[in-house]
């Protein structure tokens, strides 16, 4: 594959240039044709891409089934929310810790990643000896624990403001410009949603680059080795404990970045945003797209995030037009389609919509064996 790219370098560069232009103008095209809601959806899709890529490290590379991944999104979101809202001001004023509030983005973002990463290690360490179903159940429990903490940490000291959530979160401010205000450059008006789009795009690209580089490194090989055969990986001198914890930490830190951006984008966070269903949706994105394969995971994230939005836009007008009344709630239809799509994919393409060569091979082991047998028979006969 690498050879192919090298052979057609000019073509590859041209392709990349076109792709870059498409990405750059996308929010304006979408805004002009479908309205600003869709630019907003685009922004949220970027956040899900980051989330899915983070979970992909844990599930796709290292093969550790994590059903509580949204907890790290929550940690990132709350870190940003608490440090950039009036909520903690009364508690911190006069304690000498006021400097914690309103730190620049380039400090808050790594901090959110770091704290989420630490949570990744904390939640990962008790699960090191668990595999498969057991690991899934424990991580599911951890995800819920984090959410319940957010829900109940308003007493005895009000840290998270409980189920009411944290409000009035400040938007991102970069180079002295607040993202809540539009800015005009070269006669083009960049509105808040546009600015967030470019910021999220940059972060998503950063996460993609980090993912790619990790994958083809000593660390990435160790992850895949553990996924393939943990005992053999140990026998090759891989410290499986550390390498697994590293996977949890890296995955969680991506989730933390995404969460922090979610908080600033929404201006409000509450525990409701971090329910189990969210973990499952992100996992479905990874599985549906193609575990361990970055383009597949991105495709999965975009498809699964945008489908319900499309349904919301299409189903009601369609019902109004065809039958004159609204019989089906698009929200319910979403779950139905979700289920059908997942069952269909698992039956027809268990390796995902856009798998890596490696994964494809994995899921078609029988076919390979059959082909081999056929070959042998042909050779003998």
């Amino acid at each position: 594959m690498l050879a192919n790219i090298k052979q057609s370098k000019p073509a590859a560069y041209a392709g990349m240039a076109i792709f870059a232009v498409v990405l750059a103008v996308l929010p304006f095209v979408m805004g002009a044709t479908l309205g600003n809601t869709w630019v907003r959806n685009l922004d949220l899709a970027m956040l899900y891409i980051m989330l899915a890529l983070g979970l992909n490290i844990v599930v796709g590379y290292a093969g550790l089934l994590d059903l509580g991944y949204i907890a790290f999104y929550a940690v990132g979101a709350y870190v940003y929310a608490l440090l950039n809202s009036p909520h903690l001001v009364p508690m911190l004023s006069g304690t000498g810790f006021e400097w914690l509030l309103h730190m620049p983005l380039l400090v808050v973002l790594p901090l959110a990643a770091l704290l989420a990463g630490i949570f990744g290690v904390l939640l990962g360490s008790p699960t090191l000896k668990l595999r498969g179903d057991y690991l899934a159940i424990v991580t599911l429990g951890f995800g819920e624990i984090v959410r319940l903490f957010m829900n109940n940490l308003d007493r005895p000291i009000n840290i998270t403001n409980g189920p009411q959530g944290v409000n009035l979160i400040e938007p991102v401010s970069l180079f002295g410009h607040k993202f809540s205000q539009a800015i005009t450059v070269f006669g083009i008006e960049f509105r808040s949603v546009h600015l967030y789009y470019y910021l999220f795009l940059a972060l998503a690209l950063l996460i993609i680059v980090v993912s790619i580089r990790l994958q083809s490194s000593r660390i990435g090989r160790a992850w895949v080795a553990i996924r393939e055969d943990e005992i053999a990986a140990q026998a090759m001198g891989i410290n499986t404990r550390n390498v697994k914890l590293l996977a949890f930490a890296m995955g969680a830190s991506f989730g933390g970045v995404s969460g922090a951006m979610f908080a600033s984008f929404q201006g409000f966070v509450s525990p409701e945003s971090f329910i189990l269903m969210e973990s499952i949706v992100v996992l479905a994105m990874v599985v549906l797209g193609g575990m361990g394969h970055i383009p597949g995971v991105i495709l999965g994230a975009v498809l699964l995030f945008l489908t319900p939005e499309v349904l919301r836009d299409v189903v009601n007008p369609l019902q109004d037009k065809l039958i004159g009344e609204r019989l089906v709630n698009p929200e319910n239809l979403r779950m139905l389609l979700f289920g059908i799509a997942l069952i269909f994919v698992m039956l027809v393409r268990p390796e995902g919509l856009w798998p890596s060569k490696q994964r494809k091979a994995e899921f078609h082991e029988d076919d390979d064996l059959k082909a081999k047998d056929a070959e042998k028979e042909a050779a003998h006969g």
Partner: protein
Amino acid sequence: MANQANGEVLLEISGIHKRFGGLHALSDVALSINKGEIYGLIGPNGAGKTTLFNVLTGLYQPDEGKFTFKGIDLFRKKPNVVVESGIARTFQNIRLFHNMTALENVMVGRHVRTRANVLGAVFRDPKTRAEEAGIHERAQSLLDYVGIRKHGGEFAKNLSYGDQRRLEIARALATDPQLLALDEPAAGMNPKETDDLKKLMEKIRNDGVTILLIEHDVKLMMGLCDRIAVLDYGKKIAEGVPEEVKNNPRVIEAYLGASPD
């Protein structure tokens, strides 16, 4: 052949016990392997050979005993520590990373001798790039060494059985071992493949790696090993040069049953 071993002790265990619940899988096992020799381990099925193997490579933690390698204490140490100090192994039922290429399998073996961390992987500093190139080069030359270089780009599971065995040996050699432990490497091989394997093992030994070998093929063992230990019911019942072991009445009894008189 025994004279190739220079008598310097590389690995030494004594008083090793391993119990699984009520089963006393290893009982007071002692042996020492000299530098440069091919040391064979034989015994009837269920004698505890693989258990001993797993103890020597850190996969099982023995209950009691002493275990030193090059004078380093390895008693109850984790597998990665054992590998780092210079013992590598293969498995009785081949345990390759099936969905990685042959080359990648060997590259994983370099893990323990390389240092790149997350930052290195992400920023690809010159040191990391040089290390990665070194890993690649070494893996290629090891594939060449065991004679499967042309299969480097294939998934491990698509290799023929004999080549998978070779790949496992190459992967183990990638950890730069001083002691290579092979668990029934000739199982399921035809005479030609077995003969090739024997040559490979001799080549590895001549390149300075000591070999510990479990094998059922008695003919192969007799022709290859400098010394052989015999296990039966978790106890060592004999040890010595092949000729001695072959004529030892306790060994004959263990394999063929007690003679009537």
